[in-house]
Symmetry: C2
Subunit: 196 residues, 2 copies
């Protein structure tokens, strides 16, 4: 067997088709999270992956830089959670691995506290702020996902690296998406033998 020399990830067809219709600017944090919650709900219903979405925006203006969803199932790549996808799309569009280069103040908006992988992916991306709908056990309890072990002082660790954290935007709406997902028979793509 020849070894692979590359791989790629793409948005699902429904979202690629909808990109031209997304708002160009999302002025408030609530505007931003409303889009994230909507994409998250549409994503799992379309069978592309988990009920997660993330966007990268200019923190000050709300100009949309990228929109990602969890494409683990459709891409066949376990790393393609919504945050990794949104960050990769933003870096691809801007042609730089450091989203914070040249003083840019970009923000990642996502519908829950990132899993341990995406916690690190956010940390290394160069975004200067993170906005989450919520944190806490609701996600794992409702969806069945294992989020992995994240340090207790996770938000302080972001702040120490110059990444501002806002928790609790459209929280109830985010939980409603997880509940709908958990009530369905969608695939939960945990690692083998997850303890959760």
């Amino acid at each position: 067997m020849t070894l692979a020399s590359g791989f790629s990830a793409s948005l699902p067809d429904w979202l690629e088709a909808d990109l031209p219709n997304l708002p160009v600017v999302l002025p408030t944090l609530e505007d931003r999270m409303d889009l994230v919650n909507d994409l998250a709900d549409r994503n799992w219903r379309a069978g592309n992956g988990g009920p997660f979405a993330a966007i990268v925006v200019d923190a000050a203006t709300g100009r949309l830089v990228s929109a990602g969803v969890n494409v683990v199932l459709s891409s066949g790549l376990s790393s393609m959670h919504a945050e990794v996808t949104a960050i990769g799309l933003a870096q691809s569009a801007l042609a730089r691995w450091d989203l914070g280069a040249s003083g840019a103040d970009l923000q990642l908006v996502v519908n829950w506290r990132p899993c341990v992988m995406c916690y690190g992916a956010t940390m290394w991306s160069g975004v200067r702020s993170l906005v989450v709908a919520g944190d806490g056990p609701e996600l794992e309890a409702l969806s069945g996902f294992d989020e992995g072990p994240v340090v207790e002082d996770w938000a302080a660790q972001f702040e120490a690296r110059g990444i501002r954290v806002t928790i609790g935007v459209r929280r109830e709406e985010a939980v409603a998406v997880f509940r709908a997902y958990g009530d369905s028979d969608a695939t939960v793509y945990n690692a083998r033998g997850a303890v959760v």
Copy 2:
């Protein structure tokens, strides 16, 4: 600006060209780590990214499934650490997001304890074992990289999820690569304001 709908990562030219020359089978853990240390050293010297490499092998036979290196700089994607790259290449080659599907016993071999992102990426990949050259502060001290906050019981958390951990294969050789890198003027791609 049109939003991006996909992105891709590729091995650097020197490694793609060398794939046909890599050993088909790496019987011992030392054989596996020797390849990883060699690729890690060649990678930073070629300017593709950090001094890191990772391979996925069949744990029992040592058959090589994928070989990855850190391609943050050459791909323009901050998530493309060696582990994420090797896992993505293996999943692409095998056409499945769960490397542990159908009872496969695949192993990730990497030249140090993964950073917090790759810790999670390993956890979600479906590999059934992880082999690292070492853990501890030498990597950050010698290379200048921020590895992020990882929980104290990181290895036990893997074991609880059915992922065996082996620490300390070709440790001195791995440290020598980090030392050479740290002594050079190569780019360290930390997030803004990293505390390390």
